[in-house]
Structure formats: C-alpha cells, structure tokens
C-alpha cells in the first residue's frame, strides 16, 4: 500500500507548487481575516451576507492550502506562529495530519452551509434588525474560525479559550430566533452544559499542569507515562463527550438542534460535535496504559449511544429532533470504531486498530456530509410548510421533488446502504471485527460479537427510522392544509447541496481515494507496527466493493431503461389506490408516523416511556364524539441527570434568599453569626 500511497502523494505533489506561501504570509493572512470579521457590524444590512461569505471563502481557501501541505506529506507538521508586536505571547497553530483531516471536514460543511444560508435567511430580512444579522454572521464566521483553531491549537489555555468561543458563537447562532422564549431557554441550557463540559476539560488540564508543569496536549504524553491514565482520560472523555453527545451526556443535543436555524444545525450536528471526537482522539494519541479498560469503556458507552440514540429517534415527531437523535446514533458508531481501535492497541492487534480508527475517522467525514444534507433539507421543508411536525406533512415529493431526492439520498447514506458513503465506514468497522474474531481471546470475542449484533441492530433500526421519516414526510397524500400548499424552495437553497451529494456519491463509489489518506493519518498518528499488508488487502476489498456497487447501479439503470421501453409498448392506466373495496378514503386513513412506530413501541416501551394521551370510548356512549390521540416520548436521561438535580439545588439556593429581610438587626446578626462561625471553626481546628 505504501507504494500506492507514494503514487497518490505524487499526484498531489504536482499540485503543491501552486500553493507555496511563505510561512509568515500564512499568519498574516489568517490574522487579517480574523480582524476583518469584526467589520461586519459596519457593513450595510443587505451586503453583510456577501461580505461574510467572502471572508469565509478566504479562510476556507487558506486553511485548505495548509491541509494540502500536510496531507500531501510535503511537511509532516505545519507550524504557524501568530506572534504580533501587540501580543506578548504568540499563539502557535500546529497542523498535523489529524488536524488537517478535521479541517477538511469542517471546510466542506461550513462552506456549503454558508451558501445554503443565503436562501434560508431571506424571509428574516424584513423582521430582524441589522444588529441581529451582524451578530449572526459574526458568530457563524467565528464558529468556523474557532473550530479550525480548536484542531490546530495545542496549548491548553488557548485551546480552552477557543473551545469556549466555539460554544459561545454556536450559542449565539442557536438563539437567532430568540423572540421565542422556548428557543431562548434551550439556548441557555445549551450554553450552561457546554460550560460544564469546559470545566471538565479545564480541570483535566489543570491536573496535567500540576503534575508536569505545563498545560498542553504535548504534556499529556509525559503525564500518562507516570500516572494512572484512566481517571484523567475519563475527565477528558466527559468534557469532550458532552460536546460530542454520547449518551448520557447528550441532553443538550436534541434540544439545541431543532431550535437552531437549519444551516446552523447542519453545521453544529455535522461538524461541531465532531470536535468532541477530535478531542478524544487527540487525548488517545498519548494514552499509554489502561488501554483495554479505556477501550472497553468507550465501546460500551458508544454502543449504548448508538442503539438508544436511534431508538429514541424513531419515536420523535419533530423532524429535526429526529435527526438530532440520529446524530447521537452516528456518534455512537464513530465511538464504536474508536473503541475497537483502542482495544486493538491494547491487544497489539494493529489490524483492528487500523480498521477501527479509520472506520471511525471516515465516518466522521461521512456523517458530517449526510447529516448536514439532511438538516438542510429539513430546513427546506420547514421553509415550505412552516412546521417541523412530521404528522402534518406528507406527499411533499410531488410538491418539492429536488428536496425529496436530496433527502432520499441522505437517508440512504445515513442508513449505511450501498452504494453511498455511509456503508464504507461501517464496512471498515465490520471488517475489523470479523477479521479479529478468530484471533482474540474469549472475552474479547464475546465483546466483539456483541458489538457486531449491536451495529447490525443499529443498521436495522436506522432503516426503520428513515423509511418512516422519508415515507411519512414526502410520500402518500398530504396530511394537512400546509402540506397541500407547499412549494419547492428556491434554487439557491437546492444547488449548494449538490456539492455535498457529489462527495457522498464519490466516497461511496470511489472509496479508495478517501480511505488511503485516512489510513495514512491513522498509521502516522498512532504508530501502528506492520500494518502494510492489512492496508493493502482492505484497499483491494474496497476496490471490489466499488466494482460491485458500480454493477449494482448499472443493473438498476439497465432495468429502468428496459422498463421504460417496455411500458411504452403496453397500455398504462391510472386509478385510485387499492382500498380493499372502500373507495372514499381520505388522507387521514393513511399510515401515520405514530402508527408506523406502533409495534416497535410495543417492545421499546420500557426504555422509552412513551406516553399516550387519549380518552377511551365509554360503553354508554352510543355516538362517540370527536377523539384526539397524542403520543410523546421524553428523554429519561434528561429527567434523571439534568432536571432533577438542577431543580433540587436551585430550590435549595432559593431558600437562601430569605436572608435579605430588609431589617437592620438581621444584617448585624449575620456579622455576629459569622464571628461565631469563625470562632467555632477555629476552636475545633477545622480551619
């Protein structure tokens, strides 16, 4: 494979001559962009979008150039010193292969999202004032910049700062429609949970700093070499996991994504939660012992996230909420890949590591693509009918064919069905597991078989969920007036998504092109011994898959073409759907989302606690009046982990506020009590 990669690199090296900036130029350009972003406040309202698009393009191009430099192997690690005369301490942006990969992921989605935003934001121009737009665009730019800086910065304090800037800017993006109190509440709870996560990371870094004297990712290796790895790793894992949305740390995710505007939720769910994955990987690189324990922990948590995530997704009626839960599921899949990789490291099973890590990493890219695509289309649907409730949709495929096709592609990809990209990453993970089944010992084999079952179950559930989503939203008859009058959204919302589609299809059909660099990254970051043979065989398998997928597509085309001419020669007539003799059916008689999930709910009830709201018909009711049926499922983890303790503590705190009685003698009393307290504490040597 190395030879193949040489060739691969060779092709890129030829390109490289075009982008050869002197290093100082990089820094200067980057800083210029950073400072230009603030001018968005002074641009007239109508041009703000174009201005920020211009800046974004500049940043994307610049960072892509850097990634090219690194991925093409021209330099292993690219250091960019942002030292200004004004700033005493210089920030150093370090781009190694991992960072470069994530930058590529971020660039694609954020750019497409910006293009999509133009159409999406149009209706808001009359109602919102110029300031809110400035804030929105500024936050969007800074979300992007902070994300690429997160993957480039190694120093602990600076990392935390940009990490939090990321959270802050995304928060400002979420509350774009903050006139709605619920959205505002959601945004705030999101901000708080992000802050909590930040505190975890902060403490983890402080522990490292205390032990090694310096706070940075590079110091981790030193720390891990002579301290217990598991605890510190768990600190990091919780901190990053809150961002990534592993169950049970996911509680912010299904709330924030529906609240945000669609281009934002696309970016957030597509790439921002991946920053958590990046952090975990970055920490894992330097972990040295306790590997098996860590790997199993990650694996189990990810399995739970994957299965529960999709299980909860099925019962949602809010389209974007459903997608949000699917993000949890996909994070689970990525986590499974990473966990397997770690287990591979622990058992010197470098093949498992290679396939696991690469599967996870590639799924990061894939998920960013199709999830953003799905969110964009959910946004288009919302634009068309101004509701996110699936039960009010239906028959939209006739009204908005492009959106429907895009959504269909996204669904197929997210279900991991060939010939689309989702399959490739899942295949890599499967392959790793199946190949290592025969070599590992008893317990690991049980673990791995369990994972296989879980992964296949996830696949099945995903299909179940997306047949429901696509079928109920786009097929059948319209279920409400809104859906009847829907119109296809404007082209500037449609076309940007074809960029994403292109990537999805290319990864699906020409997977080798993307898997090779990923293999490269993994083998470079986690120094894996003698993996060349595995890599080569996997590459061959992938070529076979591409071939077979190609055949699949061709067969379909042939069949359809044949069918076309076949039907031409026969007579084709149209009529109503077969109603089993009952011809006066209405659109209400269709299968709804709820009924579609009915028998599933039967077995999933103990986990999901779906609640039904309905009145039964009493016996003495001869002519039953109108009945309504409503079913909802609430997130058990949110109740247990967030609501209950928070309410408890805040009630406790509120009790304190009786102290401000407004009576002087009480105020003096406090001084007394305090003196007494200090006296007692001192007397009993507590302080």
């Amino acid at each position: 494979m190395l030879s193949d990669i040489e060739i691969f690199i060779g092709n890129i090296k030829t390109l490289r001559v075009y982008f050869n900036l002197p290093p100082i130029m990089n820094a200067v350009l980057f800083l210029i962009i950073l400072f230009l972003t603030f001018l968005v406040f002074f641009i007239p309202k109508a041009y703000k979008y174009y201005y920020s698009l211009f800046l974004l393009t500049g940043a994307v191009v610049l960072s892509s150039v850097w990634c090219f430099k690194v991925l093409s192997g021209s330099c292993q690690v690219l250091d960019i010193h942002l030292d200004l005369p004004a700033f005493g301490n210089s920030f150093i942006l370090t781009i190694d292969r991992l960072s470069a990969f994530f930058i590529v992921v971020v660039n694609i989605t954020v750019f497409v999202g910006m293009l999509y935003a133009r159409g999406y934001l149009k209706p808001y121009y009359p109602t919102k004032n110029s300031l809110s737009f400035s804030v929105h665009f500024l936050s969007y730019l800074w979300l992007y910049l902070s994300m690429i800086m997160v993957v480039m910065i190694r120093d602990g304090l600076t990392f935390i700062i940009v990490w939090e800037i990321m959270a802050l800017s995304s928060f400002l993006l979420v509350i774009f429609e903050a006139e709605d109190r619920t959205i505002l509440k959601t945004g705030i709870s999101y901000l708080i949970q992000m802050h909590v996560g930040m505190f975890f990371i902060l403490i983890a870094f402080l522990v490292v700093g205390k032990a090694t004297g310096q706070m940075s990712f590079d110091a981790l290796r030193l720390y891990f070499s002579n301290h217990s790895n598991f605890l510190l790793f768990m600190l990091f894992f919780i901190g990053f996991g809150i961002k990534a949305g592993f169950i049970p740390l996911h509680t912010w995710l299904p709330e924030a994504h529906p609240a945000a505007p669609s281009h934002v939720s696309g970016v957030m769910s597509g790439v921002m939660i991946k920053m958590g994955i990046y952090g975990i990987l970055r920490v894992l690189i330097s972990v040295q012992n306790d590997l098996l324990l860590i790997g199993i922990t990650i694996l189990v948590i990810s399995l739970i996230s994957g299965i529960l995530g999709v299980m909860m997704a099925i019962v949602q009626h809010d389209l974007k909420r459903l997608l949000a839960y699917h993000s949890i599921e996909n994070i689970g899949i990525i986590g499974i890949g990473i966990g397997l990789g770690v287990i591979g490291l622990a058992t010197n099973n470098s093949m498992l590591s290679l396939l696991g890590f690469s599967g996870g990493l590639l799924h990061v890219l894939n998920h960013s693509l199709f999830k953003s695509l799905l969110f964009f289309n959910a946004g288009s649907v919302y634009h068309a009918i101004h509701t996110r409730n699936i039960e009010e949709m239906g028959g939209l495929m006739k009204k908005m064919p492009y959106t429907a096709l895009l959504f269909l592609t996204g669904s197929l990809a997210i279900c991991g069905l060939p010939p689309f990209n989702g399959f490739i990453s899942e295949y890599l993970i499967y392959l790793g597991m199946f190949k290592s089944l025969s070599v590992v010992n008893l317990y690991q084999s049980i673990l791995i078989l369990g994972t296989i079952v879980g992964l296949s179950l996830i696949g099945g559930l995903a299909i179940f969920c997306f047949t429901k989503a696509f079928g109920i939203v786009f097929l059948g008859e319209p279920r409400s007036e809104k859906a009847k009058t829907a119109k296809e959204v404007s082209h500037d919302m449609i076309f940007p998504q074809f960029i994403t589609i292109a990537f999805i299809v290319i990864i699906g059909l020409a997977s080798v092109l993307f898997v090779k660099p990923v293999f490269n990254i993994i083998s470079a970051e986690f120094t894996l011994p003698d993996i060349a043979p595995f890599a080569i065989t996997s590459i061959n398998n992938l070529t076979q898959i591409s071939l077979l997928s190609g055949i699949f597509v061709i067969t379909i085309v042939i069949l359809l073409v044949y069918r076309h001419y076949h039907l031409k020669s026969r007579q084709v007539s149209y009529g109503p759907t077969w109603g089993c003799g009952y011809t006066a059916g209405t659109s209400k008689q269709q299968y709804t989302a709820t009924s579609y999930a009915y028998n599933y709910n039967h077995i999933a009830k103990p986990i999901l606690q779906t609640k039904k709201m309905m009145r039964d018909i009493r016996e003495d009711e001869i002519f039953p009046d109108e009945r309504t049926f409503k079913s909802s499922s609430d997130d058990i983890f949110k109740k247990l982990l967030i609501d209950k303790p928070v309410n408890w503590i805040s009630d406790l705190l509120k009790k304190i506020s009786v102290m401000q009685t407004g009576q002087i003698q009480h105020y003096i009393l406090y001084a007394f009590v305090y003196m007494l307290l200090v006296f007692l504490l001192t007397y009993f040597n507590i302080i």
Binding site: E164, I175, A178, D180, I188, L202, K210, K654, I664, Y674
Partner: protein
Amino acid sequence: MSIAIVLLKNKTVTRIITIGFVLLHIWLTIHCWINLNKTELGYFTFSSLGVLLLAVLSLLTIPTVYHGFIYAKKDEAKKFNIYHSALIALMTFMTGAYLANGMTVLWIFVEATTLAVAALIYHDRSEMALEATWKYVFICSTGIAIAYLGILFLGFIYGRGDASNLSFASLANIINQANPLYLKIAFVFVLIGFSTKMGLFPMHTVTIDAHSVSPPPISALISTTLMNVGFLAIFRVYTLFASSSILPFMNSVLILSGLLSLLIAAGYMLKAKHLKRMLAYSSLENMGLVAIAVGAGGYGYYAALLLLVLHSLTKSSLFYQMGQLSRVLHSFKLDECGRYMKLYPAGALILLLGMICILAIPPSGLFITEFMIFKGLVLKDKWFVLIVAIILLCFVIYAMSTRFLHILFSNSRNGNDAIVPDVINPVESVSQFVLLGIVFTMCFYQPPFLVDLINQSIALLPK
C-alpha cells in the same frame, strides 16, 4: 473644590469645575505613577497597589462624570451641585484611601467615603432612597466601628508611642513577635468591618440595597472602586500578617466568606427581579471570587488583583448601560423589560458583551483570572472549594444569562409595548464599548506595565 460647587449655584460652572477635577485627578495618577513608592505629606505613599487601583479610578472618572452630566441634566441647580460636590468628594476620599500608608489614615478616608456615598444615594429624595441611605450609613458606621476595633487590636500588639499612625512599614517589623490570637481577632474584625465597603459576606447587605436606588453612575462607582477600597483595606492587613503564623487561618477565613458570598449571590440571582440588584449580586459573587483567590494564594494573588481591575471595568460599563436602559425602558423591573434588542441595538450589544464579560466566558479577560484561581486551588489541592465554586458559578451563569437574554430578546411579561423610548445616540455608549474592549483584550494580552504593577503589589506575599 467640592465646597466651591456647593456654594456656587451655577450649573455650567459646576460642569467646568468637575471637568477640571477630572483632569487634575488624571494628572495626579500620572504623577503617582512616575514616582512610584515615594512618600508625600507623610501620610501618603504611592504604593504600586494603590497606584493600580487609582489608575482604575481615574480611568472611570471620565465616563462617570460624563454619564453623571447626562443623568442629572434635568435636576435643579442645588441638587445638581450637591450631586457633583459629593461625587468629587467621594473620588477624593477614595484617592486618599488608595494612597494612605497608615492604617489609621486609611480608616479615616474609608469613613469619609461613607458620608459622600450617603449624600449620593440620597440623590432622588424618595422614601426608598431615604431608607437605603439610612441603612447604608448605619451598617457602614457599625462596620467601620468594628474595623476600628480591629485596628485598635493592632495598636495593642504595637503599643509604643512613636509612629502612632500605625503605618504599614513600621508594623511590618513587629508582626512576628505578636500574639497570634491578637492577630486573628484583629483580622476577623477588619474583615468584617471592611466587608461593608467591599460588599463581601457578612456585611454585603447594604451595598445591595444602596444599588437599587442610587443613580447608575454612582452604582458604577460603589460597586467597583469603592469595593476596591474595601478590598485594599483588607488586603493591606492580609499582606501585613502574611509573614506571621496565622496565614493559613486568614486563608481559610477568606475562602469561607468567599464561598458564602458565592452561595448567597447564586441564591439571590435565581430569584432576582430587579436588574440593578442582580448586578449588585454579581458584584458580590465576584468579590467572593476575589476572596477565594486571595485565600487560594499562589497564583490566586495575581488573579485577585486582575479580577478586581477587570471587574471594575466591566461592572462600571454595565451600570452606565443601566442608566441608558432606564431611559429606554423606564424601569429596572425584570418583568417590565424586554425587546431591548429592537429598542436600542447599541445598548443591547453592550448588555450582551457585558454579560459575556462578567460571566467570565471566554474570550472575556475575567476568564483568565477565573482560570488562575482554579489553578491556584488545584495546586493547593483545595478540591472541595473548587467543585463547590464551579457548581455555584454554573448557577450564577444560568440565572444571569436567563434574565439578560430575556431583556434583550423576548417580550416583557407585563408588556412594555406601549412605552415610547427616548432615542439615544449610540455615541453615548462609546465609553462602555471601550471599557469592554479593554476587558476582552486582556484575555489575550495583559500589558506589561499592568503585570509589573500587580507583581510588585504581591511581591511581599509568600508564593
């Protein structure tokens, strides 16, 4: 000078004199800065800490006076003049307190500030103002009396005729052979006494009441520079005793009152209904952090001073903004405020940025200080304090952001759609933007002179 204002009945003259005073003050600051650590008039030493806080003060004089002009525009000449004379007096006393080199002199100036503040709180002659003033004066003087006892205890351990003004320099020598019990009592008394000024638990209560009635520019001073005065007094004594055996005791006492302050602040903010009171509680929270920082020691000292400076800048700009907000929304009641984003965008931006700053969310400079505090705590293995503080901080953030953002975006519950806001020229908010801008820059870059000043002021303390 202030007396002159009282005598003269003319507004414009007052204005001129005030501006003259501001210029004078700035000149004084520069003067002190140039000859650092010199002693003048026997009672004043330009110690680096004093100069640092003095610089903050004279940075704030300009916007304070400016907004004061706007605020008191409609008042008749007498009120106007009293206001400004008291303002000048307050600033002078605070300056004196910053530069005082003896415990007694410091104490005198602190006591004097109470007078000036009382006059200012009472500016609008309402029942509430009267009540607030009464409480403020009463509690403050009680506190000051207690502090005075603390100083007397210092005197006891000292007890010799010469240098009877208890100058820090002369005290520093004999701390070691003193009876630690005396020191402890003295410290506790001083802490409790000056906590009235610093707005720290246990005597935080009156400052908060004062905020809800006093004119916004004055609140800006009360909750920033005046608090610095209180902190300075406590910190001087702390520095004095730091060399003695009771350092751990002092640390734990400070952490205790810091945590209690945080607790109370968090508790109140969850229920706060009055905007300025909420800001007052956030000052309480920040002072609690300062106390914890000093208690943590090590990095904490630096963090404490930096936090003090940045908090002064942020909080004052927020209070100036409150002044403008009251002109737009005609109310500080949270139920009656709303849609500020639409009514006065520039102000809304200030509120947003100010919120980010005061909550120490990066890229606010306060985050750096918070970070250093945690670092200090971790290095000292004070895990319990760390965790409790973090939890409380999260609640503070929740409470404060909820209220601010509702004011910014959502419609008020009682519906303020009817009100007609007077149009404010965004230029009036420039000063606030500048202050917040400074705070944001501090996150990435602290100018060397600042770092030097802080390091000099904590040079005596054990690392």
